[in-house]
Symmetry: C2
Subunit: 517 residues, 2 copies
């Protein structure tokens, strides 16, 4: 029998491994790759998919372990996924230690919630802090989301979740009494009112430092659309400079660390498609509160393929939003809008940017529905922030848009962010025509979003589609329904192939001759 | 504007990719690696972590996509994780197609369950079939488990889940009226009664075709222990030959495709540590039913660190087990056993095998508690299967063990499986001695399991620990508490280091002189 001294080997049992950027993109998930014969792997008893802590200096992350065969890595190396490499700020040749991940004590209240108990504020704080720090594997986030979905969170728990999400990140203080904001509870392709609303509201002299997200599962987010027009990845000091000069900005929120847990929750929640008012409320409000808003208008499209589908669901969500916002001194106006079809002509970053520019410039053929929605929201926000405008918000918004004041302010903000450019146009396009005639009864927004993504949006900014018909239109055989835009023929073909057997629009049986008579 | 014909490009848009075994072990999760500039990636609009279908001939799997930087793969290649490579039965140079994963329609009832609805039999059948086919990412399995935990499944739903799990795999028919089986609802290190019970029951002339699992989060499963003694990875025909000759077998169930969804659920459930009677019942019973059992004894250790902790929990679980088993014509006897401390001396595959051999051989120093537990279970099973033995089961079991009949049968079964060998002995060992004196009041089974794993169990079969004290023992300073066994000094040191600050046993303050007087 051989004896060893535990003290003598303690230090040696945690040797340094040479970090290597292995070149694998795993989205926001952190993965570390280790050789199966690696001494650390063996000594720690690591198995594939173990959760481990990777440390360099005073920075650390929790990652999932993938064990690799000889060849890909040497025994003394630790391979890092691109996300892990970035999060640790590693440089080639840096040395890391890899140990067991710390115990996830905050899973106890998650389990208790699954078993039917309430979550206290302190529980939510611990859970959200762990999620924001990247300590939860996706499976644990999924269990937390399932525990909170389906109306299982009361108002008090929703307030606690919102506060925990705000506290997990930075909060911006603008030092002003009125800071305007808006948000749309998604689900409607092309509903790109934000750039227009910001232009109108800042032209009126109000402060509106807008942060937006990129698309997660949709063909475009506001940040993707604005990125085809100007630079959106600003940090907080750069954002402050723009807002102090022009009253507003169009910034990608992902670079700002506002409510960082929200991004983690959304990434897991979207594919699960769980309906959780509490999470939706906390997600929307935590971002507004962290961004320093005092007055916000929330656009909630209601329709059969929108996120909110019935009047009762709308009332319930509205009540929750208002009650929770009040606790944080955030004044909120929730607007029910019609969500039965896409908004504007374009779906995809550049195509939506073209619509936004057309409305701001007052171009002939600018989409009337996008203009109307933007004016309604901007008008409501103006009245909300400036009570003296009561009953005249909409008219004032229309004046600021039609006078060119909003367009001037839009250009000035873009210039302050680094310059305004024209959005790109895709080289490959294909018109899909009607194969039957009739009146358009329904348009499948989800299907259109899918086609735009298959065509390359949002990764290819010019990709997406133009929609040529609206509800109630009467179409003839051969009349264009959509034009698909793509950067490459393969992408175009794939999007078109998907349309085989998936009807874009639902046509009522009606003789065209009679209808147009 | 360029035009393309959708039909003309449809075939070209799904080109073949050359499959490459990339050499990454991701446990049972399937991962496919694709070059970021890969035409298929771009055409399909794939992003990192997308779920994709990988197809070769008529076999397909659903995998998670990792996008890789140039260098690791060529543009026309698809890298496969080892698990995905094995599941598709690929050979070097094979070509695969990669497309979007089919829609997961069975998530609708999962969401409905989260929102408070019941799961019907047909729902459970679809969910379990998709899980068994590998169509659920781990996040979706986690959401399903969370939806079913905490007593949210009634008896009818538990029956539906059990049936769905049986139907998702193979079912073995032995063509006999009585087929014995046993199961232990885990949580007690060293409780390795199965090999002894099978030896006794088959020596009595009964049929007991035992399938067992490997460890998932524990230091050893029965299959790991038996693998140190003989070959356990048999297929169904080989298993039949052994059982027809000797009446019983010791087979690793993982090779047999019995209730395959169970393995998937357990893999995700263990780290979440969710307490779900429904899933436990369906897991245990689906495996027994699929293995063709007619009579089974279920050992349920109850204790403060065991899986079942209170008498009330035991009664609830027993009632659910019996009700569900009855529907499937499986006769069940649920036995409550004491679960306050580990069983036997050894914890770890080979160390537990030594205990099993000692009991079978009647060796001096054989662990009395392991012998007693095995005799109680074997006796109950004998009476249960042979009503003529009523009241004499225990005596008969003792006779078969003490006469050497059980040992002879054990050797014969091992010979039929390919030969009996002596389990290995670890080269590195260290004795941990008491640093205080007193009476042993509590032994932390979870801590011991952790130490055994850190020492290398079950991957290193000889690794683990020997426990030298029992509850109620009085220990002096310097007296051995455990001996840690390892294959390498690094592993030994790591296990010992973990013991710093983690007391193995809880000692009552008692003067040794008085206690031993």
């Amino acid at each position: 029998m051989s004896h060893v001294s535990p003290d003598g080997l303690a230090a040696a049992s945690r040797p340094l491994l040479k970090a290597r950027r292995i070149g694998i993109e795993t989205s926001q998930e952190f993965v570390v790759y280790m050789h199966r014969d690696c001494q650390v792997c063996r000594a720690e008893g690591f198995e594939a998919l173990a959760r481990v802590q990777v440390r360099v200096g005073d920075r650390s992350i929790v990652a999932t372990l993938n064990v690799v065969d000889p060849g890909l890595l040497s025994v003394g190396e630790a391979g890092l996924s691109n996300s892990a490499w970035r999060a640790l700020g590693l440089r080639s040749g840096d040395a890391v230690t890899v140990t067991h991940a710390p115990a996830l004590d905050s899973m106890s209240p998650v389990r208790a919630k699954i078993y039917g108990h309430r979550l206290e504020d302190a529980d939510l704080r611990r859970i959200v802090a762990d999620i924001a720090a990247g300590h939860y594997p996706d499976t644990h986030i999924a269990a937390f989301l399932a525990a909170c979905a389906g109306g299982r969170m009361d108002v008090q728990e929703t307030i606690g979740l919102t506060r925990a999400m705000v506290d997990a990140g930075e909060v911006i203080d603008w030092g002003r009494d009125v800071v305007a904001d808006k948000h749309c509870v998604g689900g409607l392709p092309g509903n790109r009112t934000t750039p227009i609303v910001v232009a109108i509201v800042t032209a009126a002299g109000l402060t509106m430092p807008k942060t937006s997200s990129r698309a997660i599962t949709s063909p475009a987010g506001t940040a993707d659309v604005m990125e085809t027009l100007t630079t959106v990845a600003l940090d907080v000091p750069a954002m402050r400079r723009v807002v102090e000069r022009e009253g507003g900005c169009f910034v990608w929120g992902g670079a700002l660390s506002l409510s960082p847990a929200d991004d983690m929750l959304i990434r897991v929640e979207r594919p699960l498609d769980l309906d959780s008012d509490a999470q939706l409320v906390a997600s929307v409000l935590s971002k507004k509160i962290a961004a320093g808003a005092t007055h916000a208008v929330i656009d909630v499209p209601v329709g059969p393929t929108a996120k909110v589908r019935t009047e009762a669901d709308f009332r319930c969500l509205e009540s929750m939003l208002v009650q929770v916002a009040a606790v944080f001194d955030l004044r909120l106006k929730v607007m029910r809008t019609v969500g039965t079809q896409p908004v504007g002509h374009g779906i995809g970053p550049a195509l939506e940017a073209h619509d936004v520019l057309a409305v701001l410039r007052g171009a002939p053929g600018a989409p009337a529905d996008l203009r109307e929605r933007a004016l309604a929201l901007a008008g409501a926000l103006l009245e909300f922030c400036q009570p003296s405008l009561a009953g005249r918000g909409r008219a004032e918004a229309t004046r600021l848009l039609d006078s060119g004041a909003a367009w001037s302010r839009f250009q000035a903000i873009c210039e302050a962010q680094g310059g305004l450019r024209e959005p790109p146009v895709a080289p490959w396009r294909h018109v899909v025509a009607a194969e039957a005639e009739g009146r358009v009864q329904a348009i499948d927004s989800r299907l259109l979003a899918r086609v735009a993504k298959l065509a390359g949006a949002p990764a290819s900014p010019a990709a997406g589609l133009e929609l040529h018909v609206r509800l109630g239109d009467v179409v003839r055989i051969g009349q264009p329904l959509i034009t698909v835009h793509a950067d490459a023929p393969g992408e175009l073909a794939y999007a078109l192939q998907y349309l085989d057997g998936h009807p874009l629009v639902d046509l009522a049986d009606e003789t065209v001759a009679g209808a147009v008579a």
